[in-house]
Structures are given as C-alpha cells and as structure tokens.
C-alpha cells in the first residue's frame, strides 16, 4: 500500500515512452539499533523530466530540479499519456502520500532523477536540492522511524489532500 503507486509509475511511465526494458528494483533494510526502516525504489526508465515536460506546472523551466519539485505536489505529477482511461488526467497522489508518510513517521525522503536530487527530513520545513552526476530514471528513498509506524494512517493523509471529499453515493458493505 505504501509503495505500490511508485512502483507502478516507475514501470508504466518508462514503458509508455519507449523504455521497453526498464525495470524497477526495491530494497529495504531495518536498522535495529536506531529503529530506522529504509525502503529504496529505483528504476532505469525515462525519468521525471520526460514524464512532466508537457505539464503546465513546469512553467517553461525544463530542468530535472523543477521536475522533482512539482512531482511532489498532489494532482500535478500527472499522467498525461492518455493511453488508458477516457481522459488523460490522473490524480497523482502516490509520491505525495508516500513522502508524507515518511515525514509523519519521523523520517525523511530522498528523490533523484536526471541530474538533481531532493531531500527533506521531518525536522525541516524545506526541501533541500543537490546536483547529481546523472541517473537515467528515478530513485526514491524513504526512511521511517519504526516506532512511529503504528500511528500512521494513510487514510488520514489522503483525507487531508486538497480537494478530498467524501462521496455519500458510494455504498459500502
């Protein structure tokens, strides 16, 4: 549930853009002494800039750094391929929710793509950008303090996203 969206995006976006053989790898390590759980997902696909370069939020700043910045905003990291579905708009919340979960679990996240890297810790209000030599694809590293994980509620994060509304017409059993 945490990472499914990131994993599926990693492969889907690359394959739709001609990266037929792109792969996503996931690795996890738990550090017992510090109670830190680290999960890393990396792919060798098209990268965020290629995915987002037609997005209006790029504001003509076609850099990997800008792509990283807007990929973290809900409803901005849009899948505009139009291959599936009746229209091309996607709600795009996977990266937003996953990174927010890391911050709420007293952890941090790092995302890199192309020649840029962005990092944020729960103790900081700001994103920190760094240059990177180059990675053709996207890497996402999420760190969680295991002691905070039981208190995490993904549903609460989704309910706090902009535009969230409960639909009374949905029947649950």
């Amino acid at each position: 549930m945490f990472f499914g969206e990131i994993l599926s995006n990693a492969v889907d976006h690359g394959k739709k853009r001609g990266f037929e053989f792109c792969q996503a790898h996931i690795a996890a390590q738990y550090y017992k002494k510090t109670n830190i759980l680290v999960v890393a997902i990396v792919d060798n696909g098209c990268g965020l800039l290629e995915t987002l370069n037609s997005n209006a939020a790029m504001n003509s700043d076609f850099t990997h750094k800008k792509a990283l910045e807007i990929a973290l905003l809900p409803r901005v990291s849009c899948n505009r391929d139009g291959e599936y579905g009746l229209d091309t708009k996607n709600q795009s919340i996977g990266l937003t929710v996953s990174t927010e979960m890391a911050l709420r679990a007293c952890g941090e996240f790092t995302i890199f793509s192309g020649n840029a890297l962005v990092r944020r810790s729960f103790s900081s209000a700001n994103l920190t950008f760094q240059p990177l030599s180059h990675w053709n694809g996207v890497g996402v590293i999420l760190e969680f303090d295991r002691r905070c994980l039981p208190d995490l509620a993904k549903s609460e994060i989704i309910q706090n996203l902009p535009g969230f509304e409960e639909v009374s017409l949905i029947s649950f059993e």
């Binding site: 499914g4 889907d12 599936y84 579905g85 919340i93 509304e165 409960e166 639909v167 029947s171 059993e173």
Partner: protein, 106 residues
C-alpha cells in the same frame, strides 16, 4: 454478481497498474449494459492493496462515462479505511470532472 479482486492480484496483494484494471472494468461494463437497473454488482476488495491509479482506471473511468447514477448499481465490499479514502478521493474527483464536462456540453 460479485467481482473478487483478489483473483487479479496474482503475485501479491498489490493491484498497482492501470492495465490490470482494464479487463475487470470490461466485466463491470458488460454487467451494467446487460442487466436491469435494479441489479447490483459487488466489488470485493478483500485481501488486496489497490493503488489510486488502479481504482481510477477501474471505477473513475466508469463514473466519468456514466455519471453519478452508476454508483447506485455498485457495492464496495470489505474496504479498509485506506481503500475507502482512495475510493472517495478518486470518485469525487471524477464526479467533478463529469459535472464540468456536462456543463460545458450544455
């Protein structure tokens, strides 16, 4: 009729990509097109972890095509709080788009 989504989560509980949803959506569309309006389809989310993309491809597209009334023919079964949040998020977004689209068409 009941659709058990766990049948489609072959290797794990994850229902991640949009293309997994396509044959299931076809099945729902066939049901909606060939049954009386008082018959309901149950979508069973037991033992699966669907992503927002999957839910959007499965149900968001149907809502966008048919509008809010189609929801009266569907019942969501065994949904965790996380799944319920995803359903509300996706379907409310598609209902807004449906409403905007129909306002423009008028």
């Amino acid at each position: 009729m009941e659709i058990d989504l766990s049948k489609y989560a072959v290797h794990s509980r994850l229902l991640g990509t949009r293309n997994i949803a396509l044959p299931i959506r076809d099945e729902i569309e066939r049901f909606l097109g060939h049954t009386n309006s008082d018959e309901k389809i149950i979508i069973n989310f037991s033992n699966v972890n669907p992503t927002q993309s999957f839910v959007d491809e499965l149900l968001g597209v149907i809502v966008l095509e048919h509008g809010p009334n189609v929801l009266s023919r569907m019942v969501m079964k065994n949904c965790s709080d996380d799944i319920k949040s995803i359903l509300h998020f996706v379907i409310s977004d598609r209902l807004k788009t449906y409403s905007e689209k129909n306002t423009l068409d008028e």
